[in-house]
Symmetry: D2
Subunit: 277 residues, 4 copies
């Protein structure tokens, strides 16, 4: 059982929280805590051995010792579900489908939705439903309504944009707060927007990157979960950079999903607190 707490900081919080756990006879397997002194914010992640205790009771007991306005999240679910949105590039989806098939994703893939048919055959090989939603010759509202319609038939905790090349409206994103995860093909905030590898090539950078982040209503501006880079040199064309970039896009997204699905990420405003192993 994982418990995540986010609240204003004050003296004695850890003692009060751990007393609640001790009273419930919880065995603490690991505990990570961070205080942002500047902002007076307290963040905690505790993993305890599940002992059949009632989670509602625990949440109430915790809220009683925490400051007003605290956020307590308790996860006992064995497995989460995800919906995946794609366009044409296979590498991120392929990695997700493989992990899903061999039960190492930490979640179940509920469905894949593409604005092209390209990845249908790959998806269906793994017996995952694929839905095609055309974005051409229609308004964003109509396109997103179609997406929402399909999504409404599935249970999922997160929407993964696995190289989904359409920009979602703030209205759509707001429906799933902190639940839409994107992989952006640059080291944000460098090269925001379209063609980041072309931008990187023109600038002559010596490293390119990829960024996994939660999607908010501002383009490429949501809370960053994790980032990686890969060295490049003068001899790499834009095409070479795109090819190289795919390797870290896949790796960064896999890392981000692992962190999120293991309840290691707490979002606060436009930033994340990430308790890595």
């Amino acid at each position: 059982m994982i418990i995540l707490i986010q609240c204003a900081d004050r003296v004695g919080l850890v003692a009060a929280i751990s007393k609640v756990m001790a009273d419930a006879a919880f065995n603490i397997i690991s505990m990570r805590e961070y205080v942002n002194v500047e902002a007076n914010r307290f963040y905690l992640r505790v993993e305890v051995a599940d002992n059949g205790f009632d989670t509602l009771h625990i949440e109430a007991a915790l809220q009683k010792v925490l400051p007003p306005g605290s956020t307590v999240y308790i996860n006992t679910a064995v497995k989460k579900n995800v919906a995946v949105l794609v366009t044409k590039e296979y590498h991120c989806l392929g990695d997700i489908l493989l992990r899903n098939y061999f039960n190492t994703l930490g979640a179940s893939v509920a469905c894949v939705i593409g604005n092209h048919e390209t990845l249908r055959s790959l998806t269906e090989k793994f017996d995952i439903p694929f839905h095609y939603v055309d974005h051409q010759d229609r308004s964003k509202e109509s396109f997103e309504a179609a997406l929402s319609g399909i999504l409404s038939h599935y249970r999922f905790d997160y929407i993964i944009l696995a190289k989904f090349m359409r920009i979602l409206s703030p209205q759509f994103v707001a429906t799933y707060p902190h639940r839409v995860i994107n992989i952006h093909h640059s080291f944000l905030p460098a090269f925001i927007g379209a063609s980041p590898y072309r931008q990187a090539y023109e600038r002559g950078v010596k490293l390119i990157g990829a960024t996994a982040h939660f999607v908010t209503d501002v383009l490429d501006e949501g809370p960053i979960i994790t980032q990686q880079i890969i060295p490049v040199n003068h001899a790499h064309s834009v095409k070479d950079m795109i090819t190289l970039g795919k390797e870290i896009e896949e790796s960064v997204l896999a890392k981000a999903l692992q962190l999120v699905l293991q309840d290691r990420v707490i979002v606060d405003g436009n930033k994340t607190v990430v308790f890595e192993n």
Copy 2:
């Protein structure tokens, strides 16, 4: 104030410890905890705002709630001291002297001892006493007695082997348990012993490394604090590898000193628990 605890694990430890802190009105700035489930060992690092509380009292209060045989370390000292042993290579010593001069080392350099005169002029530029101890034509006992004699005139918490190319006897090392820090010029346990870069070259590896570790009585076998690697290729000669290696040796030793001097490292047997920021 930093408190490090190491003991057998049992349910309720965190609650008991944090109650002691709360009773002392300590404000917990950060807390890191790790349980080695396989070994049933509990490790804790707590940083609290110093409030003038008596540390002996706190230690007693903690020992009362901890299992028998627990280790409690409390550090309130503003600054630690180090003695540095060198041979001929300047890069690690130079880095330490610079940081010491500008007060960013996190410790004060008490003295430098060399088994060559090579680094005297550098050391004395920074007004640090340099002692030369010849190792030639004398027994290891005699050499180490001379070292001990000089060291006995200084107060220090750690001995840093900053590319000191003599092997110290188990007897000498045992005098300073977990207090002698070495930088080894390979990615241990690969290439133990002499000429690791020559060994790496002959093997044709594509990465070379450096390892900072506590010295124990077995050569290159003490608890590892931190390690880094750097890529190499076919075009790097042994001499090139030595040159490249110096860059990470300096960097790894600097990182290890920072971790140790900030009380982020707990040694248990032949391994370390390192609570990084």
Copy 3:
């Protein structure tokens, strides 16, 4: 067209070689050259725009200006073929099958052979023939004869050991010199042999690695193609290290295959010359 040359070094080699190319009206797209001064060996990789010139003629013209005993390799083939040997772990095979399916592997997968049935269903999803060869209750000779029998029905340039957990005999390996590529789950030469992650855990290292290498007759001792590492800490159990390790095993093998399949690797004795982009 790629030309690889390996020979004794002497003055004027580059001029002589490039004159042969100029006489053939080849347009040099890229040229990489390395001289091992210590060993007096010369290595060259040239990529030229294919202009329909007869490769046998070029090879003869090159041999005329090169020292006796030179090796000249000319590749005009559009695509190479590979056979893949596996046991139970899916991550390396999955990555290879995905790249093969989307034509980004730089080779075609001819067949997959497993000493367990575990990966049949994955392989057959992608319409690649899977052959099961049982290794139990039979001699290594018999097992390898069965492997060879299956392999004899396919055309392939390389055998990829994608987490194939049987040790092949020197006799078997000698049949395919410099054509068997293995991914070893450690940063060689550290932790040779079985259970490298257990060894790494016991030693308390702070980095773990993976190594792709050509297989020779000595266990884990063949020419290294590429290596990578990933940081670990005290909190990682052996199981965690195995999980983390899979990520870089897949990445290292993918990188090695790319280098080999693009004719960027020249093997000389127990070492490789790798001309990266």
Copy 4:
């Protein structure tokens, strides 16, 4: 002897160039060549054993076989000289002074100029002249005239801005084209301008970087030589990032100086071709 060539590409260039070398009985130690196909530009770096041949003669012979407008640079100088500009931060200057003192910089430090007195004592420890130029209460013209006045007394190949916190005018920079090297404390082009670590903290990035580049007339926009990154997390304050950043600033600048001083960098427009070892 190092020869760098930059020119329009055409068939037969390598043959023509290597014939010139062969005619001069040069022994080619290493040769690196790159063709930017998109831009039809050819770049070459050759290292030959010096045989006393007249360099003017070689340059003329090369120009005869190269396209009009080619740039040929021949370096036979044993050692280059550098002038260093600083403000208050010691880490980059300290590293340069140490390497200079032990003859591993690949250049001689001619002088250090500071717009504060802070680093005088460090510089003078190493018997390098230090000049203080006040920037307060005077125009940029007057400040830069003072800089130029001091610089005019020294012979130097490059000006190194080793954490020099004043922006130089385009007029000043134009006096030393491709000869002013800056270390910028961010992963350009992210966080251009002032307080990049504050910007990085506010954005919640998970990696911070440093960039060494040639200075041109546009702020932080010159050709990039090399870049590095270092991971950060939510627990790093702006002050922590500044501290961490210094480590890579020093490392990136050292790497850039090594590349430039070994004549491994060719500048073309706003980009560099870097032939690493």
